[in-house]
Symmetry: C2
Subunit: 457 residues, 2 copies
């Protein structure tokens, strides 16, 4: 059965059991679900049912309830948790790995999160507070500080015994090896332990050349390393190369998704942390400033048109065709911008090979301009009976699509060189630029060649 | 040292060694690199150097050369390979896992790929051809058919021996268990083998309830399962539940990146397989049709303006302000569309909770319209001295931003309900819609209230 179909069935049953108040059966059903499925069920519930179900489950099986909350993501998870008293949250937070707990607590309202940290066991709250000291979106912030490591002086037999006694270790496909002061010195695998005799020193079967991340490394860079070296986990070290945590590939997948979302959003002028169900008031607050900036730039484009009001007064057909020049430039710019921004994000486009990309985009821009400009010219000529109007439309489209292509390439590359996120060269911004250029080239040419246009008016 | 910085240094050395023809040193340096780093180096080289370096490395260390080509991705990898004779490609293809080989061979020119398959060992080409029979973007197409499995009748001790003798098995963190007819019946882990005595039957420590994918499952759905259940690999079964392959999380990461790229691209009207360095001619061929469609819709918007040419002739100021109404609607629509399309892609937005999203977007649209409309009205009144022009501008902006919000929500949700990719409701398309509505509402209102506007002209 397709997973979504199965969840829909479970969802129906949960709703029914909730409605008839069959608590025992409901708990039974909930406890059989994977945390990820529970998260999906929570997210499809209306607010009230979500809280009722969560409360019920949290009383019976705190760990499962918290794992589900964690799968909801820190924002939605914290919103759900925030309805519970601080004592309960403090108790529940201890059921999940400290990195997940830290992410949730960080998203609680300030007062509540302080209260929760106060009420947690000192050892646990210490770990969480330590994690929260790292900057957001760094390796330190997303790592799991409970990392299992073997001493380099051990034999393979001792290592296996160590693994057998530490049954609650989370990640064991890579076995990191440290010296007596916990400096990271190597890595081996469970598999390799099985291929040699128990007396073999660990040192002999470990790989000393391993890839690690520093606590302050940006999470996007960490994700790129894990992805390009096909790792399942990456160890995190401090400035002295001491092993302080591990980031597993499932967390990396979340980073990759979040970074892709951020890029998609920025291209459209949306804040990275907005989601489909962010409350309307908050969405409004987040989107308005960006639209405000765009309103200002739209007035700039309008003032270009105003420069040529005299020309439009004589030939109103210009008002009909000018949006075509501006709009097609905007569309072409959006295409170029998207390819360039994504190329940078995927690491395919670097400063070294950017000239090649610029030349290519310029050619494509000119090509598009010539083909579409000619078509537009023919339509304008045909409908208005004036070949000069067609020629001017064609010329303006070629100019504007060339500008669109070069700006769509240079602006994100320039931002990147200045260490600013290239996705901020959003299509919303670039299209304003093509509006200005489009209006200016079209109306400017029309004003220049006004005497050839007038007879038709 | 940051990875990019290290690669830059290696790149400089490689270039220098290549220039002075120090082949032995060059090979030495290349062979020390990780395939992913080699791929990065290849991609930063000009065409000629890339081929020279690849040829050199392929002669010495075919496997490493092919792993690097594989890391380049199938398109770029196949382009590089295609410069070599078919015999050599056939030999090299056997150095890498069949799924990677299949992806590369699939992207070679038809004639060459047929020749390569003819020249490969029959057992190898058989596997590759079998993989290529699966539909693109399905689990069957991206799985590795060499999957290690244990017989359910084994004991733990026998399983460990089996692992020790199969040294070249790729993926061993999950150990899949099959019955005598190779039906997938369970899963266990290397870790669990170590925690019990060797006589324990495998059946007793395996989990029978495991998540698998069918060969025909869409790769995006597989990726969602792996991501939401935090898996490191997922077994692939045929219609009889026989184990036929495995997909590891590194391939899933590639799928997630590709699907995100596809979404970003579609929103901008770019073909999913275009990259920053796709040749200009091909990019032109891929982008022109979409721009052509948009030219047609732009003419539609223009014809709306043409309806009101009489009004514009009397009040040219309308031509100045009309792009503001259309443009701001377009920007607001892009924001809404992006949030909705991403919400659908991330699985947060379903049919069940879409009403809530629509209400929210409608409120945000109205709110944006009122705030920005009032500001625009004040500017128009201030610069043109006509309050009625300001009022009409404000009303048109409110209408258009409301239309933008509802269309930006309903169009992708509708496409999704019709099983069409919602990202195809690209911002390029939606903004044309807001152009039409923007021009119509603004110029229509102006025509209706013409007598209040004329005094100012």
């Amino acid at each position: 059965m397709a997973p979504q179909r199965r969840i829909d069935l479970v969802l129906d049953s949960v709703k029914r059991l909730l409605r008839i108040g069959a608590t025992a059966n409901l708990l039974n059903l909930l406890q059989k679900q994977h945390p990820a499925d529970l998260a999906q069920i929570f997210s499809e519930f209306p607010e009230k049912d979500r809280q009722a179900t969560f409360t019920l489950l949290a009383d019976r099986n705190g760990r499962l309830a918290m794992e589900a909350v964690s799968e909801l993501g820190p924002e939605a998870g914290a919103t759900l948790l925030a309805t519970r008293p601080a004592e309960e949250i403090a108790k529940l937070a201890q059921e999940i790995p400290s990195d997940d707990a830290a992410a949730l607590i960080d998203h609680l309202p300030d007062e509540l999160s302080a209260a929760v940290l106060d009420l947690m066991r000192p050892d646990e709250s210490g770990v969480v507070e330590h994690l929260l000291e790292y900057q957001e979106q760094t390796a330190g912030r997303i790592m799991n500080p409970h990392v299992f490591a073997l001493d380099e002086e051990m034999t393979v037999g001792e290592a296996i015994t160590e693994l057998q006694t530490n049954r609650d270790v989370e990640m064991v496909f890579y076995l990191y090896v440290v010296d007596e002061r916990r400096h990271l010195v190597g890595v081996t695998s469970l598999r390799r332990l099985l291929l040699v005799s128990p007396e073999t020193p660990l040192k002999r079967i470990m790989t000393a050349d391993l890839i690690s991340a520093r606590v302050e490394t940006d999470q996007e860079e960490v994700a790129q390393q894990v992805a390009s070296y096909n790792l399942l986990a990456i160890p995190v070290v401090d400035e002295e190369n001491k092993l302080v945590g591990v980031i597993t590939v499932d967390d990396i997948i979340d980073v990759i998704k979040d970074e892709a979302t951020e890029d998609i959003y920025r291209l459209a002028g949306v804040a990275g942390d907005e989601r489909a169900f962010t409350p309307a008031r908050e969405s409004l607050r987040k989107r308005l400033p960006w639209l405000g900036v765009n309103l200002a730039t739209a007035f700039m484009a309008a003032s270009v048109v105003a420069l040529f009001e005299g020309t439009i007064e004589r030939i109103t057909a210009l008002a009909v065709f000018m949006p075509i020049v501006a709009g097609m430039g905007g569309n072409a710019a959006t295409q170029t911008l998207t390819v360039i921004v994504r190329g940078i994000a995927l690491g395919e486009l670097t400063w070294g090979n950017s000239r090649q990309a610029l030349v290519k985009e310029a050619i494509v821009g000119l090509g598009n301009g010539v083909v579409l400009g000619l078509i537009a010219a023919l339509v304008a000529w045909g409908t208005r009976g004036n070949p000069v109007l067609g020629l001017i439309l064609c010329a303006a489209m070629i100019i504007n699509m060339f500008v669109a292509a070069t700006a769509g390439t240079l602006v994100p590359l320039g931002l990147r060189a200045a260490n600013i996120d290239p996705a901020l060269a959003s299509s919303v911004f670039i299209t304003t630029l093509t509006d200005v250029f489009g209006f200016f080239s079209f109306l400017g040419l029309a004003t220049l060649f006004l005497r050839y246009l007038v007879p038709m008016a």
